[in-house]
Symmetry: C2
Subunit: 311 residues, 2 copies
Amino acid sequence: MDSIRVFAPATVANVACGFDIFGFAVTSPGDIITLTRRDEPGVVITDIIGDGGRLPREADRNTAGIAIQTYLRHIKRTDVGVEAVLQKQMPLGSGLGSSAASAVAGVYAINELLGRPLTTRQLIPFAMEGERIACGSAHADNVGPSLLGGFVVIRSYSPLDVIRINTPATLFCTLVHPDIEVNTKDARFILKNEVSLKNTITQMGNVAGLIAGLMSPDYDLISRSLVDVIIEPVRSILIPEFNEVKQAAVDNGALGCSISGSGPSMFALSRDAETAERVGAAMQQAFLSVGITSEAYVSEINREGPKVILK
Amino acid sequence: MDSIRVFAPATVANVACGFDIFGFAVTSPGDIITLTRRDEPGVVITDIIGDGGRLPREADRNTAGIAIQTYLRHIKRTDVGVEAVLQKQMPLGSGLGSSAASAVAGVYAINELLGRPLTTRQLIPFAMEGERIACGSAHADNVGPSLLGGFVVIRSYSPLDVIRINTPATLFCTLVHPDIEVNTKDARFILKNEVSLKNTITQMGNVAGLIAGLMSPDYDLISRSLVDVIIEPVRSILIPEFNEVKQAAVDNGALGCSISGSGPSMFALSRDAETAERVGAAMQQAFLSVGITSEAYVSEINREGPKVILK
């Protein structure tokens, strides 16, 4: 095989109560990478489409480039040379796991191109290295679900323990990205380093409830558990009309609604596609009431993760 | 029916990572209450066996008495009169949910005696009122599992949201009660009011992991998740030889080991009865190495909760 094309999905990290530990993949949007072998060793990014020229083209400063290079060093194949074309299909700095999707697409593609020397699960640490350059730390709550698909828990980072959770057969996600930008580093900076024991207990109850609700499945329990008393009250101040947009989602039948990753995108979960569509329209309308345009994506939970696309 | 006799089980609250939200019931030990109708209205405690004379005999200062009285007021049957004999079969102030077992036995018994006007789940608030007099606050993490059986999550207190979690077909609990005493109020007093965000995230990961491990079931995940970075490091200083006893449990095959409730009892979970017995002997030996005698109880998870005993 001389060339391969891979799609990797966007992801919703945190999922209300699960700051830094929960994430799930969607079926749309997502990034596409095309890798083509070349004779000289090393990774060259020949083009990035859809980023408005904002992402670094140097492979060792680009999330996908770093993920591929770290992988090649690990499997001792620095003799391999590839050209990469990255097709960004979602907004940057949006809270949709944009950098994770690129890193996952890159590392999944190179592993397929080389005949799959590692399992998909073994690829997580290399994609996390791509995240490190984008976010300042090697998080796994976007990379994990983008690579494994479905809903995942990052139980621990040392050692890394990524658990896949079964979700109901029908569970739809609405993503709304308002046309404003929040930097992930800023969104992390405003968080407090201490949490009251009372709020910790409340959050743990919701974490337990959400896992039990997803696995049972029990939609009412999912709905009652999609509550974040620690992060959302702080980060939501960075998102204009947050409360109104969330209320619009709930009023239109969403099980719950919160910030996607570090924002400014917001996600909602619904029992069926019709509700998810209606919720999206209502959320967009709420943003528009203060003059903020947005994109909406409605999607099932993506259970398969990255996939090879036939050209 | 003029008389009834009910057993209500001891419980392990907190279960390592789930401070104030997790609890499960065991099959032994537990308390027994006998209620007998009398002509005059009101609740009279005629005897308490096995408490060494330490519990209040006045019905409105006794956990079982208060639970029954609150229940009778709620169902507007203050015309009913009962005499109660309470048989304590576990140590007081032990972290085994002794006051909850008495309150649950009392309220379950009176509800049965009156032909079951309320469901078992509806009895939780009345048993919680019994807890309030014993612990200073109306906790549900012992009362919930003692009444419902099995492993429960207290997702929320306002409104009260008690969720029952499926557990593996074989899961054994070892309880070891060292012959020292810790007051629940003291054990709560030494806790810090603030938790680092880092520890909160770690604890949430373990909470999610334990629920997923129990429901899957996945014993290895249960084992990895039975970790408490918030409460155990503080409360364990009240228990002599805590680290050695815990290590003895793990070295002998326990999935995990931590403080039962607010201590000083310690619990361990194991895959089978043989391991649970061996773990108990090792834990007792570790206490004995510093001259502390103890009682050990080995039991399955109790899935049925309280039960009527034929006389």
